[in-house]
Structures are given as C-alpha cells and as structure tokens.
C-alpha cells in the first residue's frame, strides 16, 4: 500500500531473505533444490499480486504466460543446444515474449472496455484453449524444429540455465533464483512508491475517476498486465529449467486457479505476504503429499476456506497487522484496513 510502511513486514522480509541467503550452508542439497522450486513459483504469485492486488485486474490467465514462457524456452533451447549463451538468451526472450503476449491480450481487453470479473473469465477461457490445444499435440505433426511438443506428456530434457561456464544447478540455481527474486521484490516495492505505482492503485480504487485525472487507464492497465505476464513467464521458465520439463498441465484449470488462491489467502495487496504464503503453501502441500496421507487435499481445502472466511485480507497480512499492533502500537492501521475491506464489499 502506498501509505506508510508496515514495520513487521519489512523486518520479516529482511529476516527471510537473510535466512534464505545463508540457509544452503546448513541444509541438505535436496532441501536447497526444493526451496528453489518454491521460490520459482513465488514469481507467479508476485505477478498476480502486481496485477490483481495493486491494479485490480483479476486474472485467471497467469498460467497462460507461465506456460508460454516454459514452452518457448524449451523449444528454443532444445533446437539450439550446443550454442553457448543460448540459455540466458532463451530466458530473456521468453520473459519478453510473455510480456508481449500479455500486452497484446491486455490491449485487446482493456481498450475494448473488458474489465473486472470478465477479465477473469476471458483469461480462464484462454487458459483452457491452450491446455486443450497443447494436450492434443502428441502426434508427429506437432514438431517445431527438432522439438516435438509431445502433447499431454510435454517436453522433456529441457536444458538447465548456463551462465558462461557455470551451469546453474543445485546451489548455483538456488542463488540465481534467490537473487532475481530479491531484485524483483525490491524493484516492485520501489515501483509501488513511484508515480505509476500511485496511478495503478488509483486505477484499482476507481477506474473511471482516474481517467478524469488525465490518466490513460487502458494503456497503464495493459502495461501492468504485460509486466505481470513477463513475471509469470519468468516463473514458467525457471520451473521448466528446475524440472527440465514442461507439460500442458501448466495450463490446466488447477494451475490457473492456484495462484489466485495463494495470493488471495496470503494477502493480495502485499508482495511480501504472497511470497511467504506461496512458499509455505508449496512446502506444506509437498509435506502432505510426501506423507502419502489421503487427507492432504481435504486439509488444504479446509485451510483455504477458513482463511478466506476469517481473515479476508489474507492470513499473512493479518499476522503483519497483528504484530504491528502488538509491538508497534499502531491501533489505527487495523481499523483502516477494516474500513478498506468494507469499502471493497461495496464496490466488489
């Protein structure tokens, strides 16, 4: 949020990043690998926090850009294996492509006056189109260069990132992801305090009114949507290099919904909260899956229901406020959040 700083949030963010930077020193290589996976998925949540939490664009379509990024990187790098510097170039081009695709979609929607829940529906349909389409590319007709798209099985053996002579696997990959995440997190934080940052909050709060302060609202929306697409695409590429693998399930209904669920449950107007909740969720879900418990999905579902019912601003944000109140005596803040929530009820 633009006004003031929440103290706990900053302290927690600093502690977490500090911990993440030193933790490979004392945890095993599997956990490092695992955390780098969670962190890769955090970009997807960040992208939705940016466009939904800050700009009020509700999208089910982050999975589209996630998949586009992953598939583009796979096809490009597998076609040009052996070429040095192809993997970082693939990463860069993939991010740009994701942004461009999002910009085109955004242009098509926002200049045409499509907004609110309709953006969610249109992106949902697009996700389903791509998942249906990619799912049937199993035949030999679907080759791009030497790479077969592989239908439901997806593409395998996607090369890991290489920065010059350094192959980014294990700890290298972990630090690569962590540094990018840290940089992007800081940039996003700065961005929200910038001129455009204020403008997008204004757009979220009242789109029509913001136009009358001389803002080209569709243009700003398209650009923010493009930035969100680029972030989602980055997430997809990191996921593809992490598992050396991408499938159409990246576009499936569940993949489209999970970022929405994570961001909403963690706190959609707060980047720190969505990173924390994303990492916790994946960690927890994996733990449940590994335990082989048949109650895993039931527990996850119940948590989501309870969180939305009782802490509608998101559980992590709620904890931040609680701690602010306990340790920094900021009574008024909580009240304001309450009112904000009521306000949203009226417009939402």
């Amino acid at each position: 949020m633009v006004q003031g700083k929440i103290k706990t949030e900053n302290i927690v963010a600093a502690l977490i990043f500090f911990f993440l930077f030193i933790c490979p020193l004392f945890i095993d290589s599997y956990s490092v690998l695992n955390i780098s996976y969670f962190l890769s998925m955090a970009f997807l949540s960040l992208s939705l926090t940016l466009i939904w939490g800050y700009c009020g664009i509700f999208s089910f379509g982050q999975a589209v850009f996630f998949g586009i990024g992953g598939y583009f990187y796979a096809v490009l790098t597998l076609n040009l294996t052996g070429t040095s510097a192809i993997t970082p170039l693939g990463l860069l081009l993939g991010v740009i492509l994701g942004g461009l695709a999002a910009w085109i979609l955004g242009y098509f929607m926002f200049y045409g006056g499509v907004n609110d829940v309709f953006v969610g529906l249109i992106t949902l349909c697009l996700t389903l189109v791509l998942s249906t389409f990619m799912g049937q590319t199993a035949g030999s007709a679907w080759n791009i260069g030497q790479v077969s798209l592989g239908g439901f099985n997806g593409i395998n053996g996607i090369p890991a990132l290489e920065l010059g002579p350094i192959s980014l696997s294990g700890n290298n990959f972990y630090y690569f992801v962590l540094i990018i995440l840290f940089v992007i997190y800081c940039l996003l934080k700065l961005f929200t305090h910038s001129k455009v940052g204020a403008a997008i909050v204004a757009i979220r709060e009242n789109r029509e009114r913001t136009k009358m302060f001389g803002y080209n609202v569709p243009k700003i929306q398209s650009l923010v949507f493009a930035a969100g697409g680029a972030l989602a695409s980055l997430s997809g590429i990191l996921y593809a290099t992490w598992g050396n693998y991408i499938t159409p399930s990246a576009f499936a209904l569940s993949s489209a919904t999970i970022p929405v669920v994570l961001v909403a449950a963690g706190g959609r107007k707060n980047f720190t909260a969505s990173i924390i909740f994303t990492v916790l969720y994946y960690w927890f879900a994996q733990g449940l899956s590994a335990s082989g418990s048949q109650y895993a999905l039931v527990i996850l579902g119940l948590i989501l229901i309870l969180v939305t019912l009782f802490v509608p601003d998101g559980i992590i944000v709620f904890l931040f406020h609680l701690s602010d109140r306990l340790f920094f005596h900021r009574e008024s803040k909580m009240k304001e959040v309450q009112e904000e929530h009521l306000h949203e009820k009226n417009i939402g």
Binding site: F118, T132, L297, T308
Partner: protein, 291 residues
Amino acid sequence: MSLSSLMNQFINDFSFLILAAIGLAVIFGMMKIINLAHGEFIMLGAYITTLSAQAGVPLIISIVFGAIGVGIMGYLIDRLIICRLYGRTLDSVVVTWGISMVIQQGMLIIFGPSLQGVSTPLGSVSFAGSTYSVYRILLFAISIGALFLLYLIFMKTKFGLYSRATMQNQEIARSMGVNTNRIYSMTFSIGAAFAGLTGGLYAPTMAISPTFGTGFLMQSFVTVIVGGANPLIGTSLSGGVLGIVNSILDTTWGTFFGEIGLLICAILVIRLLPLGFSGVVEKWFVRKRRM
C-alpha cells in the same frame, strides 16, 4: 455429414450444455458467485442417484433424490460458508475452490475411486437409418423442462419476484422487507439442486468416480459466460447457439475442434458483448418498451 446425425448431435450437445450450466448460471446470475465447486455438486448428485438406484429405488426417484440431496447440501454449505461471502465475488472463487477439494477428496476417501454404475435405461429407437438412445431424447426434453421450471420458479412465484428484486437492487429489496439472506440461501440451494439433478441425469451414461464433475466444468463455464447474468434467457440462448456451433464443428472436424470452437466463441462473446446474450436481449427489451 447427414442432417440427421447433425440433428442427433445437436440434441445431445444442447441438453448437455444446458444441464451442465443451469445450476452454475442460477448461482452466478443471481448471486454473482463463481462456484468452482459446481463440478463436485454434479458429482454428488451422480453418487446419490447411483447409490439409491443400487439400493433398489427406481431410477427416476433416485434422480429426484440426487437433486434434493444436493439442494439440501447446498443450503447447508450456504448457511455455513457462502453466506459470509455475499457480494465478494473473488473471495468466493477461493472458498469454492477449497470446497471442491474437500468434497472430491472426501468422496474418494469414503467411496473409493469408483462406483459401479447403473446402465442407461430405455433402450434405443431407429429413425431415418440411425439409432437414437431414447434416454438421450428424454434428456433433451428434460433440459427444456428444466428451463421451464426455472421460468416458473423465478417468474411465477413470490420467491422468484423477491429474488429478482434482490438481484436488481439488494438495498431496496431489503428496505422493502425482503429477507435477502434467505433469498440468497434459497437461490444457492436451487442452483445446487439443479447441479444435483444434472449429476443424477448423467449418472447412468457415464463412469461414476470422484472426478465425475470435471467433465462438465468447461462446458458449464463457457455456457454461463456466453449467456450472461440472466440464468433463464442467457442459458437457453447460449445453449442453443453453442449447441449449434459445437455440433457443426464436432461432426465435421472432430471432438477437438468442437471443444476449441466453444472456447473461442466464449472469448469472442466476452470481448464483443461483455454482458453476454442476456445483456443484449435485455437491452433490446428495454429499448422496445421505451420506444
């Protein structure tokens, strides 16, 4: 493709789209809640129907049980959970997603990965050189009947009047003494009952498993998106139009193109007519009345 097979296909597609969407359309149109647990409601209807049919209850009564059972369950879910989310469209996405996870996995735990199905009743008839399943033709009739039932509920009853008033303007309705919370609960329950009915009706034609509902989800969402907010006008029109699109594409180029065609239709409609077919129709009516 011959006209008769096209016709056969249309009958199937139309009834499937209408029945898949009707419960979702009621809940979305009246309450602005996107119910991601819709597929699970359908699945529950199928389970109730199948279990009672196996217990010896005649199929037709089993189907009614399915609808009523899911309706009651919908009422409970609304009272326990959804009633706290009225007007919060996006939060309802998260909650209903959670509900769908719990129901689907819960059914797997209780009943295992599959259930023995009941077979499709009523044999088949031959007409103009092709065979039609009588049950399928009956489904077509029932889908139209369901739309008519919706018409009766929302246009001819006091509840319908109140609920339309609530949908138009909740504040005014409330100030005139309508218990809007009760209206919402009833609406959710009716939507759930329609979903249960769909599940019951399709139970004898499909494999019964906890993922039963996923086969309906895409079609139901597309139909509702294309139809717009008014469950009656929207669902019937979009069911008709999409039914035609799907049956033509499907019979000429195959299942995949039928599916893609539906989705592209939906995207075009949101872009060109964001309020869906019912928005267009309502506008047209307003104009006509004012002229």
